[in-house]
Amino acid sequence: MSIQVQNVSKRFGSFQALSDISIDIESGELIALLGPSGSGKTTLLRILAGLEGLDEGAILFDGENITGVSPKERKIGFVFQHYALFRHMTVFDNVAYGLKVRPRKERPSKAEIAKKVNELLSLVKLDNLADRYPSQLSGGQRQRVALARALAVEPKVLLLDEPFGALDAKVRKELRRWLRKLHNEFHVTSIFVTHDQEEALDVANRIIVMNNGKIEQIGTPDEVYENPKSPFVYDFLGNVNLFRGRLHNGKLTQGQFEIDVPTYLDSHEEAVGYVRPHDIHIEKVQTSNDTVAATIVHIHLLGPVVQIELKRDDIDEYLEAEVTKEHFNQLGIKKGDIVYIRPKQLKVFIPEDFSI
């Protein structure tokens, strides 16, 4: 099912939780709603599910305006952040619930319900725990019950609120992979909320970055990571180094240090260059004057990527660089060495771009 969110605003008292949100989601997409805590992700998800009303705007499912339709009628599967399982029901009964409450005419027979529930339970690998109560399960198992319960009603849209939030790292990874696999099999339009950028980049086919109740950027993981539209998105998706300076004649000047930025031709007294750690070039001897000297403060040797912490010699600022192990070995640098760095690629934002 395709979803259109049209100019949705939501206020809690005097607090503007969402302002003018518009999103187009195609049928079968797997979308991540990414943003810091309090940015309105849950609120948006709840509005989509009909659990929360909206002040302005409209929600369309398959082109049909369902803004006033009750959650019961929306045919969505909602997985709550804290699972919201029915404590007094077994795992089996939890999953069967959505089928059992159907009006008599649409309700499958007992045998059909049992078959369906058992299928779902084996899908989430909980077949042998059907008779347990939620209190007897681990966090990851509860999460899977919640998912199976939502899937049982064959929803047209699956909404998941921080589905992996409360789980430990290993279980998270596993469930993440599993959610992607599930989505590949069922192609049900899915939106999941997360505040973990790695999770969003890894799982989703499109990411919606939110901040302060507004959408900062919508795009594929590649687009938002490689081409962030705002300083916020740059900052939120991964580590970043800042070069503050003056923008003039296609150059970002910072004291003696000049960086060529030919695509930015207007002048600004204040501008900030954003550079990802892996876009920092390091050399041991100065070959050109567009580099700046820095001292290596720390080296993290972790797997194939080497993280290097540097301190600029001219100003009191720290930088983070990432190089491949191979390149690191070629460089032959060690802690305490003075090296020369240069941003290979940088994106400049002027203060007007900062939405604060």
Partner: protein, 278 residues
């Protein structure tokens, strides 16, 4: 190695277990078991046939039935209305909510005799309320049920209220998003969550009703075989210096109450089990 680990795990993490347990046992012995054993002890001065005759006297048997019946009735009424009151107090905002909340505790605070006199005046055949009814309310079992409902009200409200408070609205939302209507959500999701608290409230109100005396004697009329409750029979016997007879009846009440509470506890244990397993 594994053995020692296991042993250590068995120990509870909370310190002072043996101390608190010892204290609990001592306390219960002095406060509860000692006085109760005196009741049994006193009845030993009776012969078995004397004892049997006393406790199976038609007046006594009628009073057992009355006490039990009215206590059950009042307990059930309180379960229904107490739950509704708790619901209203938790789910809705309205002016004067704090006052209503405070009123619920009044039956606890009021001397039961005051409640009894007030109720008797209200419900007597020419009282404010009683005059509108063709049948007797005061001086009938109905009057007793009213008095017991009054004194038992706080129990259900105060046990259900916190459970309802802690019941996350997400569970209800989950139910709705799975396609359940409001009635289904209530009967299948909310009610089962409340049931253990309702049973607790019921058993407290019921136990309190079994032994209630002060509020009933005024409204009951105390007609032998009709509106005479068991505690009153005990009082009457005491006033006639028939201590042994009084304790014999008391023994029946004691064993009866114990049995009922025991059964209720079993029911409670069964309904609670699923929530507490880990």
């Amino acid at each position: 190695m594994e053995l020692t680990l296991k042993k250590r795990n068995k120990k509870t993490i909370i310190p002072g277990f043996s101390l608190t347990l010892g204290y609990t046992m001592l306390y219960l012995s002095i406060i509860v078991i000692l006085p109760l054993s005196m009741i049994f002890f006193n009845t030993f001065s009776m012969s078995w046939s004397e004892f049997y005759e006393t406790i199976s006297h038609p007046r006594a048997v009628a009073s057992y039935k009355l006490t039990l019946g009215t206590s059950l009735g009042a307990g059930l009424i309180n379960v229904v209305f107490g739950t509704i009151i708790a619901w209203v107090l938790i789910r809705y905002e309205f002016p004067g909510k704090k006052i209503v909340d405070g009123l619920v505790d009044l039956p606890f605070a009021l001397p039961t005799a005051v409640a009894g006199i007030a109720l008797a005046t209200l419900y007597s055949p020419n009282g404010w309320v009683g005059q509108f009814f063709d049948f007797k309310i005061a001086y009938s079992p109905l009057g007793i049920i009213i008095a017991l409902t009054f004194i038992g009200l706080p129990f259900v409200v105060r046990t259900v209220q916190p459970v309802l408070q802690n019941l996350s609205s997400e569970v209800e939302e989950a139910s709705a998003s799975l396609g359940a209507n409001r009635i289904q959500t209530f009967t299948k999701v909310i009610f089962p969550e409340l049931l253990p608290a309702m049973i607790t409230g019921f058993s407290l109100a019921f136990a309190r009703s079994l032994g209630e005396y002060g509020s009933i004697v005024f409204i009951a009329g105390n007609i032998p075989m009709k509106t005479e409750i068991t505690p009153l029979i005990i009082m009457t016997k005491l006033e006639q210096y028939d201590y042994v007879g009084a304790t014999a009846i008391a023994t029946v009440m004691l064993i009866g109450s114990f049995l009922f509470l025991f059964i209720i506890n079993i029911i409670q244990w069964v309904t609670n089990r699923k929530f507490n397993q880990h």
